[in-house]
Every structure is written in C-alpha cells, then in structure tokens.
C-alpha cells in the first residue's frame, strides 16, 4: 500500500472540508473495499479521512413507516436488527448475505453505496425499495443516486450520512452469489410499495437498474407466472470468468420469479 496522510475526523463538517480541500483524498468508512484496493495499488489516495469515530453516523431507527440507517452502520447490525427484521425482512436478509461475518462486522451501508460496486448488494435495496440517500448537503432519491459503474450523484466534499427506506408492503431479495467472493453475480430486489411495484437488479449490469417490463407485468398480476413471458436482454450486461452476459440475463428472470414466489 502506498502511504498517505491519515485524518481521524471528529465531525462530518470537518471531514467534508478536508475532502473538498485535498484533491486525492478518500473517505475511510468500513474499509472493506478501499483498503484491499489500496493494497493492490489500484488506488493511491493522498489522504484518508477516517469516519469511524464520528458520533451520530451509526444506528438504526424505525419510525413512521421509515427505516433510517446511519451511514456508518455495519452490515452485521442491519442483519441482526430485530426492528429491521420486523419492518423490512428482505433488507436484513440482504445485509446478512454481504461478504462473510468478519467483513459484515466492519463494512458499512454508506461505504457500500458511495463506492457503487456493480456487484454490491445495497444498491439493489436502495433502488428496489425506493430509498432516499441523505448527505451532509441534501437528500437524493435512490433512483437518481447510482449513475454508472463506481459512479454516484455525490459531489466533491459530499458525504452520505444516512439512508431512509420506506417500509414496503412486501419485499424479497434473491441473490446468486459468487461462491468465492460472495459478491452478487446477480441480485434482484422485488418490492410491492405504496408507489407501485419495483424490481431492481444488481450484479448483472455495470450499475444497478430497474426492470420496467417486470414491474409492469407484476402490477397487473403479482405472481411468478406473470414473469413467464418476460426476458431480460443480455446486451450491455456484465461478462467475466464467472458468468456470461446471457447467463446473467437468465439469472435476472429466475431471480425475480423466485423473489416474487417468496412473497406472492
């Protein structure tokens, strides 16, 4: 790992100011992606701004039909939360499927969505459940947050502070994990919400996306059978040693059907 200047931030404002002032600075949340990337010398930040000791970024509250998760909340805490399990069981399940137990004890929701790895799980929850991303500057609709591979709507000096999930009527998450890395080869979140049906797919493409054909079909008939005539185009999907684009396309349909079958 190349060396860097270390800053342990005491507040979000101090971290944001440092981030804006240092050109190649990175925020250190759980570090489960950033530190391995730096060890491989694929990233060389001049400064690391550690968010781990900032009070108030950590925690889960469920109130008024909304689950609010602080940006530095660990995956293990979301997975084990009795309140999350009760309000949005699919979200607790998704958190418990990330990485392995030691990784879940460090990794954070804010770090996961700010990094926007194409195979990360949380983007499927943020988009599939119609969540709102709260930053130190504004609120960003989940649909507008993920803009491309490893790209988000975050501006320079902008820091995720929390994610707000509206409690859906029903939701289920299907995941086909890579057996070694546990990243999603394909993950599909299906949710029946007050605003309609949402189907969000991670792992398959360069960035999480909604599947409008499936959403339309499920709006008329919320059953796995409603998806029988629907196919996912393989064009533009990810292709690597783990799965071809065609295989991923097939998994999107299978995954959506299984998720729907779980809650229909």
């Amino acid at each position: 790992m190349y060396n860097f200047t270390y800053h342990r931030a005491g507040s979000v404002d101090a971290a944001a100011a440092k981030l804006a002032e240092s050109g190649d600075a990175k925020l250190l949340a759980g570090g489960m992606t950033l530190l391995p990337t730096m060890k491989q010398r694929l990233a060389q930040p001049s400064d690391l701004i550690d968010l781990n000791e900032i009070a108030g970024l950590n925690g889960i509250t469920v109130a008024g039909g909304t689950v609010t998760i602080g940006a530095m909340t660990r995956h293990a805490d979301v997975a084990a939360s009795a309140e999350v399990k009760q309000a949005i069981p699919a979200l607790a399940k998704l958190a418990g499927l990330i990485g392995d137990p030691a990784v879940r004890n460090r990794g954070t929701i804010g770090g996961s969505i700010a990094n926007n790895d194409p195979a990360a799980d949380y983007p499927a929850a943020v988009v599939g459940l119609g969540a709102t991303v709260v930053t130190n500057k504004r609120e960003i609709a989940g649909d507008d947050f993920f803009t491309g591979m490893f790209e988000t709507a975050l501006d320079d000096g902008e820091i995720v502070t929390a994610v707000r999930f509206p409690v859906p009527q029903k939701a289920a998450y299907f995941k086909f994990p890579n057996p070694a890395s546990r990243y999603a080869v394909v993950g599909v979140m299906v949710a029946k919400t007050a605003g309609g049906i949402r189907v969000a797919v991670t792992g398959a493409g360069p960035c999480v996306f909604r599947q409008p054909d499936m959403e339309r079909a499920l709006s008329g008939n919320f059953s796995a059978d409603a998806l029988s005539g629907i196919s996912q185009k393989a064009d533009g999907l990810n292709e690597d040693i783990h799965a071809s684009a065609e295989y991923r396309a097939s998994l999107v349909v299978v995954g959506a059907k299984r998720a729907v079958a779980e809650i229909a």
């Binding site: 200047t5 270390y6 030691a102």
Partner: protein
C-alpha cells in the same frame, strides 16, 4: 479525545506516530506509519505472532482478531484505527494449561492439520458461538458462518465438529 482541532488525530505519510490501544486487556503502544495494518502492528510491534497473515486480501481469515468483541480481519484495518478500541488476539483467550473452551475443543476434535488457519478459525468460531448463543447451533449454520475462513488443508469436517463442541462448552 480532544486537542487536534477539528480532527482527533492527523499525521502525514512520512511520519511514524505512537499508537496506543488495548490488546488482550493490557494497554500497549508502538510506533507505526499511517499504512501499517493492525495485523502487522500486532505481530511486529507487539511480537504476538499467533495472528497469521494467510492471504493479505481479506479472503482467508487467518488474521481474525476480536475488535471491541467482534471478529474482524486484522489485515483490513489500519493499526491507527485501533486507538481507543479493545483488541483481543488468540494469545488473549487462553494459555497452555488454561485453554479457552474453543481451543480445547479444537484439540479434542483434532480440528487442525497444518495449523496455519487455526488461530483465525478459533477466533471466528468464538464469534459464531456468541452470535448464536441460546440457539441450537447446526452444522449448516457453522459451515455458512465459516465462509470467511479458509483451511488450505481442506480439513473443514473436524473444524466444524470442533466449533460445535466449543460452542457447547462456552
């Protein structure tokens, strides 16, 4: 922790600083660079070589330690991040003649072959037992929760037996 203005702690890339933390219940300190990993601090500064580096890529779990009571991979956290936190290594859970129940279970059940992954397996195994306290710990659960610990000898069968036995005795 105050006295650093807006920042609780800052130091530059060519500097070494003294890090003070608690390892196995005792206050310890040592000079590290910003990019020193916790596992290297534990092994090289403190001489606690029971924590192993198997892969250095967060895959294998040989470096598993407890951080504020929870298993984490010591190769994927900076030493400086341990300041103000509690770290427990394999040396901190038991000694020869006074083994932790999980260590004793690995000995009883021959839960090791070459032994390289064993410290991480035991630290992860304690985490599995604690997370599932009060529930029946099935073989399936143990196998699923061991996904972050790799035994290159592939001796999982007895490792799973050991963790089941150790959890019963804890």
């Amino acid at each position: 922790m105050t006295g650093f203005g807006d920042f609780l702690r800052e130091f530059g890339d060519s500097m070494t600083v003294k890090v003070t933390t608690t390892v196995n219940g005792k206050p310890v300190s040592g000079d590290v660079e910003p990019n020193t990993l916790l596992v290297h601090f534990v092994r090289e500064n403190l001489g606690l070589t029971g924590t192993h580096v198997g892969c250095d890529t967060s895959q294998c779990g040989a470096c598993t330690v407890h951080f504020d009571g929870r298993p984490i991979k010591a190769c994927t956290i900076l030493a400086v991040q341990a300041e103000g936190h509690q770290v427990v290594t394999i040396e901190g859970i038991g000694q020869p003649g006074n083994l932790h129940p999980m260590q004793a279970a690995f000995q009883e059940n021959h839960g090791l072959q070459c032994g390289f992954c064993t410290p991480g397996m035991i630290m992860a195994g304690i985490g599995i037992a604690e997370r599932n306290k009060g529930a029946t710990l099935s073989e399936e659960t143990i196998r699923a929760e061991l996904e972050g610990n790799i035994c290159r000898c592939t001796g999982y069968h007895n490792i799973v037996k050991s963790i089941a036995a150790g959890a019963r005795d804890m």
